[in-house]
C-alpha cells in the first residue's frame, strides 16, 4: 500500500503522531518516536515511548485501531494512515539505534522551526514498544481543501 517514495518520506525523521480510542470511543493521542515501513509497504511499525503512551498502548491491545499522522514540520506535508495493530512488543536493542537516529533527525528538523535541540533531544524515547500495524488506508492530510481525501497516488502505485 505504501509506495517507495512514501516510504522514504515516512522514514525521513519527520513528526509521527498516533491516535487511538478506548471502548467508549474516547480518543487519545501520543507522539511516536519513529516509523518504519515493512512487508513491502503493507505494514508500518511505529515506536511508542512507554513513558508517554500507556493509555494508547492499552487501547491498541484492546481493539487495535490506530491512526498515524506523519507530517513534515517545514511545509506541513502530511499523510494519515489508518490501520490495525496486530503485534505489540518491547523494541529490541537493535531497534533502539533506529529510534535514536529518528529522534536525532527529528530534533534537527525541528531546529528549522525554532525548537532547540537541547529540548527536543530530551523527548522521551526509551524504553519503547514496537507496534506493528497492518495498513488499511492512506489519506492526504496536508492542511487545505483536499485534506482528508484518500491518497490516489499511493493507491495507483500500490501494485508496483
Amino acid at each position: 500500500v505504501i509506495s517507495a517514495e512514501l516510504k522514504a518520506f515516512l522514514e525521513s525523521g519527520i513528526s509521527v503522531l498516533i491516535g487511538t480510542r478506548d471502548r467508549d470511543a474516547v480518543p487519545e493521542c501520543a507522539r511516536a518516536v519513529g516509523a518504519r515501513v515493512d512487508a513491502g509497504g503493507d505494514e508500518l511499525t511505529v515506536f511508542l515511548p512507554e513513558a508517554t503512551s500507556a493509555a494508547c498502548l492499552e487501547h491498541l491491545r484492546a481493539n487495535g485501531r490506530i491512526a498515524v499522522c506523519v507530517s513534515r514540520p517545514a511545509d506541513h506535508r502530511s499523510i494519515q494512515i489508518k490501520g490495525r495493530a496486530h503485534s505489540i512488543r518491547r523494541a529490541s536493542a537493535e531497534e533502539r539505534a533506529f529510534v535514536e537516529r529518528y529522534v536525532a533527525a527529528l530534533a534537527r528538523t525541528l531546529t528549522f522551526v525554532g525548537l532547540p535541540e537541547r529540548l527536543t533531544l530530551r523527548i522521551a524515547h526509551w524504553p519503547c514498544q514496537a507496534v506493528s500495524v497492518r495498513v488499511e488506508s492512506l489519506y492526504l492530510q496536508t492542511p487545505g481543501p483536499e485534506a482528508g481525501t484518500p491518497l490516489p497516488a499511493a493507491r495507483a502505485e500500490a501494485g508496483s
Partner: protein, 451 residues
C-alpha cells in the same frame, strides 16, 4: 493547574495535537495550529475546512488535545467534549481575524477562512509526566529574556508616563512620532515599531515613522492586507505570535490549493513589511472618534514577546498617539485653509422653483433664495460688497409685497441657513438698513431650469 496558566501553550508556537474518533470507532489524529483559551472551563478550536476531525466531532463529541509549552516543552493533556459552534460574536471575530491575517499574507483571502469557532468543555487537564527525559545539564535561563516583566507593572507605568509626556509636549508630527517610538524602545523594550497613516491613494497606508529598521519609512500596505492592513480594515488590535509557524501553515494550504488547479483564486503572496524574520507582531489601529488616523505596528524576533499586558498597555499608547496626530492634523488643516487655497462652492439657482443649492445640497427657497442669488450675482458682476434693504425692496424680480414685506425676517432666515450649510458665505448687518456680503470661499454660479 488552572487552564489560564497554560496560555503560553496556546500561542501557537508549537502546534498542538488533536485526536478524535468516528462513531464507529475509527481514530483520527492531526496537528492543529492553535487552541484558544475561552475561560477556565472552555477552549475553542478553529474550523477552517470541513474535514475528518469536523465529521468525527459531529458524530462523537469527545476529543483529546496535547499542548506543549513553547519554552520548556512541557506537555499537557486536555480531555474535551464538544459543546457548540459559533459563527459570529466576539470569540469568532477574534479567531477569524487571526486567520484572515495569515490568509491575506499568503494571498488566500476568501479561500482560507474561519468556518466556525468550535467550543469544547474541558473535562480534564493533566501534565504528561515524563514527556522529557531529565536534562543532563540544567540550562540557565537567559537573564535578559524576562527582565522587563520581572520588574513588573510599576516600571511599565513609569515608562508609560514618559511616553505620554513626550506625546503631550511634541511640537510637530515628526517630533511626536520620533520621540514616542524612541521612548517605546528605550523605556519599554519595543525595539521595532512603525506608524502608518493613510496614503494619498485610497485604501493604502504608508509608514511615516519607524524605529529599529534600516529602511522603514515609505513602506506601504493595502487596507485588509496582512496584519497591519487587517487591523486598519477591522479597526481592531491584532496580535500574532509565532508568525513563522502560522505562515508555514498558510503556505502549506496555499500550495495545496495551487496544486488542485485553483491558483487563479489566489493573490500573490505579499512580503511582511518590516522584519523579514519577525516572529511576533502586534498591530493597533489609531482611532480618533470614528476616524482611522493610522496604525501602530510593533514587531519582535521573540515569538513570545507580546502578552495580554502588552496589548492593554500599547493600546493606551496608541490612543494617545491617535489623539495627538489628530490634533496636529486639524491645526495643520486650519492653517492650510487660511494661507493656501480657498474652496470653491458651486451655487445653483433653479429659476422656476426659486431655490438655491450649494454643492448639490438644498440651501434655501423663495424670497431668501432670490435675495442670495441677486447678491451673489451683483458681487460677481461688479464686486459689490455692501447692499441696502432699499435696493432689494425696489427690485421687482424679488417679488416682495409693497407693504409688510418682512424683509428683515427673511434676511435672518437666509443668515441662519448660510451659517448652518455654508458658513463661508455670510450676510452681515453693517448698520441700519445695510448688510455686507463676506466670502471665505470662491463661488461658481449657475442658473438652471429644473426638470
Amino acid at each position: 493547574v488552572r487552564l489560564a496558566e497554560l496560555r503560553d501553550c496556546f500561542q501557537g508556537v508549537i502546534p498542538s495535537i488533536l485526536a478524535t474518533a468516528s462513531a464507529d470507532g475509527e481514530p483520527n489524529v492531526t496537528y492543529i495550529s492553535q487552541v484558544h483559551y475561552v475561560d477556565e472551563a472552555h477552549v475553542a478550536l478553529s474550523c477552517q475546512f470541513f474535514n475528518k476531525t469536523r465529521r468525527n466531532i459531529a458524530e462523537n463529541p469527545r476529543a483529546t488535545v496535547n499542548v506543549y509549552h513553547p519554552v520548556t516543552l512541557d506537555a499537557w493533556r486536555l480531555r474535551l467534549r464538544f459543546d457548540h459552534s459559533e459563527t459570529e460574536g466576539l470569540l469568532f471575530e477574534k479567531m477569524a481575524l487571526r486567520i484572515q491575517v495569515i490568509a491575506s499574507h499568503t494571498g488566500m483571502s476568501g479561500v482560507f477562512r474561519l468556518i466556525s469557532a468550535d467550543v469544547f468543555d474541558v473535562l480534564e487537564l493533566e501534565r504528561i509526566d515524563g514527556f522529557l527525559l531529565p536534562a543532563e545539564t540544567a540550562v540557565a535561563p537567559t537573564a535578559a529574556a524576562s527582565d522587563a516583566h520581572a520588574q513588573g507593572p510599576l516600571t511599565e507605568l513609569r515608562g508609560l508616563q514618559v511616553v505620554s509626556e513626550r506625546i503631550a509636549r511634541a511640537a510637530d508630527l515628526d517630533g511626536l512620532l520620533t520621540d514616542t517610538l524612541a521612548a517605546l524602545d528605550d523605556l519599554l523594550g519595543f525595539s521595532h515599531t512603525m506608524v502608518l497613516v493613510p496614503a494619498d491613494c485610497p485604501d493604502r497606508f504608508v509608514a511615516i515613522a519607524s524605529r529599529g529598521y534600516e529602511e522603514g519609512i515609505g513602506a506601504e500596505v493595502a487596507l485588509g492586507e496582512g496584519i497591519i492592513g487587517t487591523a486598519a480594515d477591522r479597526r481592531r488590535m491584532i496580535r500574532l505570535s509565532s508568525v513563522g509557524a502560522e505562515l508555514r501553515y498558510g503556505r502549506a494550504i496555499r500550495s495545496r490549493v495551487e496544486e488542485h488547479g485553483h491558483a487563479d483564486q489566489l493573490a500573490p503572496e505579499i512580503p511582511l513589511p518590516g522584519l523579514p524574520d519577525a516572529q511576533a507582531q502586534l498591530a493597533l489601529p489609531l482611532l480618533a472618534g470614528e476616524r482611522l488616523i493610522g496604525v501602530l505596528a510593533v514587531e519582535s524576533r521573540d515569538p513570545l514577546c507580546f502578552d495580554e499586558w502588552d496589548e492593554a498597555f500599547l493600546q493606551i499608547v496608541a490612543n494617545q498617539i491617535a489623539i495627538a496626530i489628530d490634533r496636529m492634523q486639524s491645526t495643520e488643516e486650519e492653517t492650510a485653509a487660511a494661507t493656501l487655497g480657498r474652496r470653491t462652492r458651486k451655487i445653483v439657482y433653479y429659476r422656476n422653483d426659486d431655490c438655491v443649492f450649494a454643492d448639490g445640497e438644498y440651501l434655501v427657497r423663495n424670497v431668501p433664495a432670490k435675495i442670495l442669488w441677486k447678491v451673489l450675482r451683483q458681487h460677481q458682476r461688479d464686486g459689490q460688497i455692501e447692499f441696502t434693504n432699499r435696493e432689494l425692496r425696489l427690485d421687482p424680480s424679488l417679488g416682495l409685497p409693497p407693504l409688510k414685506d418682512n424683509l428683515e425676517s427673511r434676511l435672518i432666515l437666509l443668515r441662519k441657513r448660510l451659517s448652518d450649510k455654508c458658513p463661508d458665505i455670510r450676510i452681515v448687518p453693517v448698520r441700519r438698513g445695510r448688510f455686507a456680503l463676506q466670502l471665505d470661499c470662491d463661488v461658481e454660479l449657475t442658473e438652471k431650469e429644473c426638470g
